[in-house]
Amino acid sequence: MSNHEHEHQQPPQAIRAEALESLLIEKGLLTPDAIDEVIIRYGERVGPLNGARLVAKAWCDPVFRQQLLEDGTSAVADFNFEGGQVEKLVVVANTEQIHNVVVCTLCSCYPWAVLGLPPKWYKDPAYRSRIVREPRVLLAEMGLALAPDIEIRVWDSSAEIRYMVLPLQPGESVGEDEAQLVERVTRDSMIGVAVL
């Protein structure tokens, strides 16, 4: 990437990142390949499709569903997901009475291995500050209006446990096979800022 073409549009942190990159390459601490590997890994291989496969399987297979909710870490071990950031996975199930939503107020912890890298809004101050204080108001702003009698449970990922929401299966999808169901599951429904 040419620095000179972009230098006037680039934010200062982008310029400094490029400077640090070239310094680390000069010193032999970084190879350019490592950057391409990161782009391919998180752009293509690690993403919310992994979580969607878990959700679809849980909808179809009551035994797997129970295992996923009781011990998410071992339930997903067989999938061999890469991506890191999940030492212990806790999957929390939405019900007609309880809606779950995930945040990390102190940094931006997120279950990379099952959901990929988090969206920008998840890492920004607005979401991190408000979702613990006024979740019903904020979710409504984000397009999810929950009735006052639905309990909202906010999971603030303050240690190494990572959380993922098991959304309710849409009624009209009952009877579809797992491959069809995977297509229905969105990233936002597994963070808990949307329903299906």
Binding site: Q13, L23, L24, L29, Y42, Y127, R136
Partner: protein, 241 residues
């Protein structure tokens, strides 16, 4: 530490802006920062994630809010690379000027004059550790969170300090971030999930208007945090969930 990173419950940060079809990285430099963090870990600039998180907490607070997620990572990794003696701030700044930076640009990194010792490398890549002392609390127990924190790294957010909640899960021993981030060892502690009512964490103000849009009167909110045993003392009364 009472840092800018501790955002839970803060007012004034506006609306959440969602993007459709968001890419994993918005620009190549973001992926480069990701790779540089991996490279810094591989070269021994930091030995555990707690230390990296604390380096991010120590960046310039204005940069924390304005440089974005990967800008924060950049400030954190630059801090650690300098503290480890692998590069100097002058070297990066010189290079940045060559790349078109302005001398007045805000620099996020804040290397310490006397960095914490590196401490031991992790026992293994996971953070759970077996403990031979029993857990002090069990599910159902009421606990009160600590009211004060030290200036260093901690995972007890400000909004959950001095509050009463109920233990809903126990997770065994886990590496203690408060010491591990500072090269003072893993010192594993029992870890618990503790649930709080929304109104315990954010009581309604005395002069709350009936039409106030906040949720402090909302009785149907629970916030759950994963808290280490040293943050907790027994509570004898409080709202059961």
């Amino acid at each position: 530490m009472d840092g800018i990173h501790d955002l839970g419950g803060k007012h004034g940060h506006g609306h959440v802006r969602q993007e459709s079809s968001e890419p994993a990285f918005h620009a190549r430099w973001e992926a480069a920062v990701f790779a540089m963090v991996n490279a810094a870990a591989a070269s021994g600039a930091f030995k555990n994630t707690d230390r990296f998180r604390h380096a991010i907490e120590r960046i310039d607070p204005v940069a924390y809010l304005s440089h974005g997620y990967y800008g924060r990572w950049l400030g954190g990794v630059e801090t650690l690379l300098v503290e480890a003696g692998l590069i100097t701030t002058d070297e990066i700044s010189r290079k940045a000027l060559e790349h078109g930076a302005d001398a007045s640009d805000l620099i996020a990194a804040r290397p310490g004059l006397v960095p914490d010792p590196q401490g031991d490398p992790p026992v293994n890549s996971m953070s759970d550790r077996s403990l031979n002392r029993p857990a002090r609390y069990k599910p159902g127990d009421l606990v009160r969170t600590a009211t004060v924190v030290q200036s260093g790294h901690t995972r007890l957010p400000a909004y959950a300090r001095g509050k009463i909640g109920q233990v809903i899960d126990v997770h065994g021993g886990w590496v203690y971030p408060d010491t591990n981030a500072h090269g003072r060892g893993e010192q594993p502690q029992h870890l618990y999930t503790v649930a709080f009512t929304g109104s315990e964490l954010f009581p309604a103000p005395i002069d709350a208007a009936d039409d106030q849009p906040e949720s402090s009167q909302d009785q149907n909110i629970r916030v759950c945090l994963d808290l280490f045993e040293p943050y907790l003392t027994p509570a004898t009364s409080g709202a059961r969930l």
